[in-house]
């Protein structure tokens, strides 16, 4: 339903002016190929600056790609960017256009501008605000809401005036668990009732694992992997992560422990090891028995998460995907 081929976009270099340093050119999307199927929740995962927003802005007709094609539900979006607005609803990272409006007026106006009659816009506004638990905030201006509430109000505006394709750039950033559930509940209902397709930009690995049908991992403008969360994890299934936390320092007098040192990533009292499952079992047996156990404070054994997948795939940002 959404096919992207060879999409490329480079931000030009900017020459420095007085007080403004020069910036080099940035290849923000680099030969991206994606196929999003109807009715799926498709995720874009990647570190800050990976090019997720840039990619999404090209799919929504907001930015003209340098090269490549975007086809959504049979429409060529590169040639007819204005059609995107009649196929999809976009929730951007910014809310400035709605900030001074009340929640209710923001949702209603957005519905009107999506072509709804005024009665219909009001009815949909009421239904969506109720669905997301925003009715009690309806009369408050967005500017006076908390970050998470404001995000939810913008999400509400994106839902008024049904569209078959929702493009959401970090919809749940800043939201508490209740608001997150309201968002995913609303998305699921639309998917079940209307077969709505969702393209989601996220940093949250846990969210990615639970809500996404498929995920593309983006790094420096390139898609470095694309599969279901489980499928991606299987790519590194040969490995298990063992975290050992020592009470004071590692008992290097135990030969088995000393032998592990080369393979561990040390951070203070913590050692992190990536091992084959049998090896991991042996290590756990070693440290939980005998003299090493006295020096051990805690240990965990984890199967790979999407974060491990990202690191194993050689992502540029070694610190992982979760925002600090």
């Amino acid at each position: 339903m959404c096919a992207v081929r060879g999409l490329a976009k480079t931000y030009p270099a900017v020459r420095g002016r007085r007080g403004v340093p020069a910036t080099p050119e940035v290849r923000a999307t680099d030969d991206v190929r994606l196929d999003i199927r109807r009715g799926e929740i498709f995720g874009l995962l990647g570190p800050n600056g990976a090019g997720k927003t840039t990619l999404v802005r090209q799919l929504t007709g907001l930015m003209r790609p340098d090269r490549g094609s975007v086809e959504i539900l049979g429409h060529d979006i590169v040639r007819h960017p204005e059609r995107a607005s009649r196929i999809l609803a976009y929730l951007g990272q910014e809310s400035t256009a709605l900030d001074d409006l009340t929640v209710s007026l923001a949702a209603e106006t957005t519905g009107r501008l999506r072509g709804l009659q005024s009665r219909q816009a009001r009815a949909e506004r009421d239904a969506v605000l109720d669905e997301l638990g925003l009715t009690s905030l309806a009369g408050r201006p967005l500017r006076k809401l908390s970050g998470g509430q404001r995000r939810l109000a913008c999400f509400a505006a994106a839902l008024v005036g049904q569209r078959p394709f929702l493009v959401l750039d970090e919809p749940t950033s800043g939201m508490d668990p209740v608001a997150r559930r309201a968002v995913w509940g609303a998305v699921d209902r639309r998917r079940a009732e209307h077969g709505t397709t969702v393209l989601l930009v996220t940093h949250n690995v846990i969210e990615a694992e639970t809500v996404l049908d498929r995920v593309a991992v983006l790094d420096r403008g390139r898609v470095i992997a694309c599969d279901t969360p489980t499928g991606l994890k299987e790519q590194v299934a040969g490995e298990v992560r063992v975290d050992l936390v020592w009470r004071e320092s590692a008992p290097l007098h135990v030969p088995e422990v000393a032998a592990l040192r080369d393979r561990a990533v040390e951070s203070g009292r913590r050692w992190t090891l990536r091992l084959a499952p049998e090896e991991a079992r042996t290590v756990v047996a070693t440290v939980t028995g005998g003299s090493a156990f006295a020096a051990l404070d805690d240990f965990t054994l984890t199967t790979p998460s999407l974060e491990d997948v990202y690191l194993a795939l050689g992502g540029a940002a070694r610190q992982g995907l979760v925002k600090a």
Binding site: R57, T60, G61, L62, M63, R64, L73, G74, H75, P81, E82, R83, A84, S85, R86, I87, L88, A89, Y90, G92, Q93, E94, T96, A97, L98, D100, L101, T102, L105, A106, E108, T109, T110, R112, L113, R114, G115, L116, Q117, S118, P141, G161, Q162, R163, P164
Partner: protein
């Protein structure tokens, strides 16, 4: 998307295939007038929430100027020009200065994305915002005009002409403000241009024209607010020459149409980068 069974279609199996391959139906487009009304309403409520204090500032500024000028001008034509200039200055402050600022900031912060991903005609966004800002000036302009008439002892008889002056001068100045805001490469520059435009309206519109040097008078003729001021000032006389009033207002109208068209073009250009 549903595929119509072949037997209900007169056109045989080929028609079915067409239906399958055809691009999905597009959602509705917002039509110009309803979209304009929706933007207007939203912008007016925005202005009410966020800009009321600024309207007070604009009004007090104009009233202050009139009080200052009372010691300088000696009644008659000059007083009329001062009152008309101060009244139109309120329009310039809000429609030119604040709208340039608004569009400059909206563009810089990515706020235009919201409108650009809705199926709304660009003219609806620009005209809706310009209209809302122009309407927002009404109370300030009327208060200034009434206060000026009292202060300088001018007749109230033709104040109704504000019904034409505010929308036409408003269109010209708001169109200019929107175009400046959308064309300025940086938001600070949009703010600066808006401020300069307003200062020009202040200096060239309020100070009596016949005391100005030739070059300044030429600049004055280029400024769209001048024609609103002249039209309004003429109506204070005992026997206003309505043909000239209409002529001045027509200039405002034409400038309004042109500047709003430029602003719409600028919006379209700013929305897709």
């Amino acid at each position: 998307m549903s595929v119509v069974p072949a037997e209900v279609l007169p056109g045989s199996a080929l028609a079915v295939e067409e239906t399958v391959r055809e691009a999905a139906e597009l959602g509705p487009r917002a039509r110009l007038w309803p979209a304009l009304a929706a933007v207007y309403r939203a912008q007016l409520s925005r202005a009410r929430v966020a800009r009321i204090p600024l309207l007070f500032v604009a009004t007090f500024q104009s009233i202050g100027i009139m009080i200052l000028m009372r010691g300088v001008v000696d009644g008659g034509g000059e007083a009329q020009a001062v009152v008309a200039g101060s009244s139109v200055l309120v329009v310039a402050f809000v429609a030119l200065n604040l709208l340039a600022q608004y569009f400059g900031q909206l563009r810089a912060s990515g706020g235009l994305d919201h409108y650009a991903t809705l199926p709304v005609p660009p003219a609806a966004v620009v005209l809706g915002a310009a209209g809302a800002y122009a309407s927002f000036t009404v109370p300030g302009t009327v208060v200034t005009a009434v206060f000026g008439c009292v202060l300088f002892g001018l007749p109230f008889a033709h104040l109704w002409v504000l019904i034409a002056v505010i929308p036409l001068a408003g269109a010209a100045l708001a169109g200019l403000g929107a175009a400046l805001g959308l064309l300025a490469p940086r938001p600070e520059l949009a703010t600066l241009l808006g401020q300069l435009g307003m200062s020009a309206a202040l200096l060239l519109g309020v100070l009596p024209a016949d005391r100005m040097p030739e070059a300044v008078r030429f600049a004055r003729d280029l400024l769209p607010s001048t024609y609103g001021v002249e039209a309004f000032a003429r109506t204070f006389g005992p026997n206003p020459d309505w043909a000239f009033v209409l002529g001045d207002l027509a200039v405002c109208g034409v400038v309004g149409v042109v500047s709003l068209a430029v602003a719409t073009w600028a919006y379209r250009r700013a929305a897709v980068r």
